[in-house]
Symmetry: C2
Subunit: 336 residues, 2 copies
DNA sequence: AAAAAAATCGGAAACGTTTGCGATTTTCTA
DNA sequence: TAGAAAATCGCAAACGTTTCCGATTTTTTT
């Protein structure tokens, strides 16, 4: 039951516990014969170094706080997977926190993480107000924001080129012969603002008329996207394609369309954004714009490590390239 | 930059730092006037208690290690969500580790968690061999297994009544008029053994002939389930319903059926197990057996807390009730 | 072969808490 | 009001490491 400590193996080896510490740490200040003897003794006795004691003196915990609105979201759980794998590969462990729906909980967990003495924080914001919500803490610990653009804020983040994503998608629809494309989704965050802008830019270049169907539903989930889409389909359909601002919204559109008897992609083409894993499911097969989740996560922990280990100040905005995932929800109007 | 410590506020308050500690901890050994003065001073100075220092003396980290095969799996990310919420509500934080596909990594992360001095470990096994794989460590720290049955092993776990789940599902199909039900899936773990048994039991009671389509594909994912289903549909279909051992397999069956032009539920009824969130998606709408993920997670952390805080020895097998989720993939053969 | 340099190891402080014990002060009891 | 009990607080040890510094021994240099 009792954990074996440095002192125990020092006593058994007949050396000081400073020597044992040096043997394990690969220090040069020790004879190679005694090192081997001690290392052998260590695993005979089942010694493992106590990280909290080490943290006490090194002032480093090797802990990264990962705060996400909720881990049971596909997009975030994928990010979390890659972040954990990458972090652990570099000697860090992940402390996971759900920041829930409200800003208060988000602030609470960040404060908690600070108390836990994490070396850095990786956060995917729950709201556009997250930045100011936790600003008081972001200068106390290295922090990088994930997946959400902060535009001109003096904070490091890694995100996809959202504007380019919708731009690519819109051009793809154009190539398929679509001339009336409806943009479905809000512009409540910088990220979504950028997505809308990319769509507008493509429209301008292609001489199309940008059209929007927005709403003030607060949290984008399948249900609310669905309800919004129901409202949409109660009106006449004078467009041939819908660009949904997120896969989640696209799924809502899909459900509403099925209910209303609107054939997708027969009557209406549909494209999403994010490429969450369920878009690849049978019968869904949603054409979408992929956020390179693996790359995002890896870059984010690299960025964080740089801040932690090299004390890099300043901030960097890392923008990754989106990629078009062609699947089955977009109809080619020309090759008929 | 420099964190404010107990000593700092003690000096500022003109008391010993023992007094400050007692003021924060709500001890009775302190005057209410000085307590208030100190508490006020603490948040003026921005003091937060250093958990690693506290852990050093209390021998408790307030950390729970959560090890899952991979967090980007819907089932596990849902479990993780509820586990984290529940744990944090009781003053614990979650250290997340992916145990990956191989046993070596699983053992590595468990060892790592021990080094980190976690108070307990919550683990969803990656393989039936997990139990023996980490047995050397499970007596060094409170451990509870999640979602996987261990049958007769002397270890605590919480799992759904898998046998009852398939039993309920098979009876449901029978009520709809199905008499030829094919069971689709392996029996490579105790959990899956139990699921098969429940199916068999129902067949016996209902005077049905149990039929299996098994395979030795090693990891159940959509793709391998899909490949297996393709093989299945290359043979004559002399059954009216398929009971897939997991939703993941059911999704594979669905995809293969669509490709082969087999109408579900028109020609073939389909039922899954787990009720992962994408089963509720439009166009999927899979009838399935739900594992109560929230309850499982909550019970698991409660069980773990009991071991940690009360030093409860022994082991308990907590079995939760599955519930039938009726959706759109099962056809009623009688009401025609 | 003597002096200098390098290698090897031990002593001890430090990290920031919690807590048992003793000392002092205050309040209560008779 | 004097003695006892209770309340309040400080001292110091302890948790298990890492690392600076100095002491001792070994190797190298001239």
């Amino acid at each position: 039951m009792k954990n074996v400590t440095l002192k125990d193996v020092a006593k058994a080896a007949g050396v000081s516990y400073a020597t044992v510490s040096r043997a394990l740490s690969g220090s040069h200040q020790i004879g190679s014969d005694t090192r081997e003897r001690i290392i052998k003794l260590c695993d005979e006795m089942g010694y493992t170094t106590n990280y909290v004691a080490r943290s006490m003196v090194t002032k480093k915990t090797g802990l990264i706080g990962l705060v996400v609105p909720s881990i049971d979201n596909q997009f975030m759980s994928e990010l979390a997977y890659y972040a954990e794998m990458s972090a652990r590969g570099h000697g860090y462990n992940i402390m996971l926190c759900n920041s829930g729906p409200d800003l208060k909980q988000e602030k609470t967990v960040v404060k908690l993480l600070l108390s836990r003495q994490v070396d850095g924080i990786l956060i995917v914001p729950q709201s556009p107000r997250t930045y100011e919500n936790i600003r008081a803490y972001t200068d106390q610990v290295p922090t990088v924001f994930l997946s959400e653009n902060l535009r001109d804020q003096p904070q490091s983040y890694v995100a996809v080129d959202n504007s380019r994503g919708t731009y690519i998608g819109a051009r793809y629809l154009y190539e398929l012969g679509h001339r009336d494309i409806l943009y479905f989704g809000r512009r409540h965050t910088t990220t979504h603002q950028l997505r809308a802008e990319g769509y507008i830019r493509a429209c301008q270049e292609l001489n199309l008329h940008p059209r929007f169907f927005n709403s003030e539903f607060s949290r984008s989930s399948i249900n609310t996207g669905y309800q919004l889409a129901q409202e949409l389909f109660s009106r006449p359909i004078d467009y041939t394609a819908i660009f949904a601002s997120t896969d989640s919204n696209a799924l809502g559109v899909l459900k509403a369309a099925d209910n209303a008897g609107i054939d997708i992609p027969g009557r209406l083409s549909l494209i999403g954004f994010d490429n969450i894993s369920s878009t690849a499911l049978p019968r869904i097969d949603l054409t979408t714009i992929e956020q390179p989740k693996r790359e995002m996560a890896v870059q984010a922990v690299d960025m964080l490590r740089d801040k932690i280990e090299n004390g890099t100040q300043g901030y960097v905005h890392q923008i990754l390239m989106p990629v078009l995932i062609k699947r089955g929800t977009c109809r080619d109007l020309l090759s008929n």
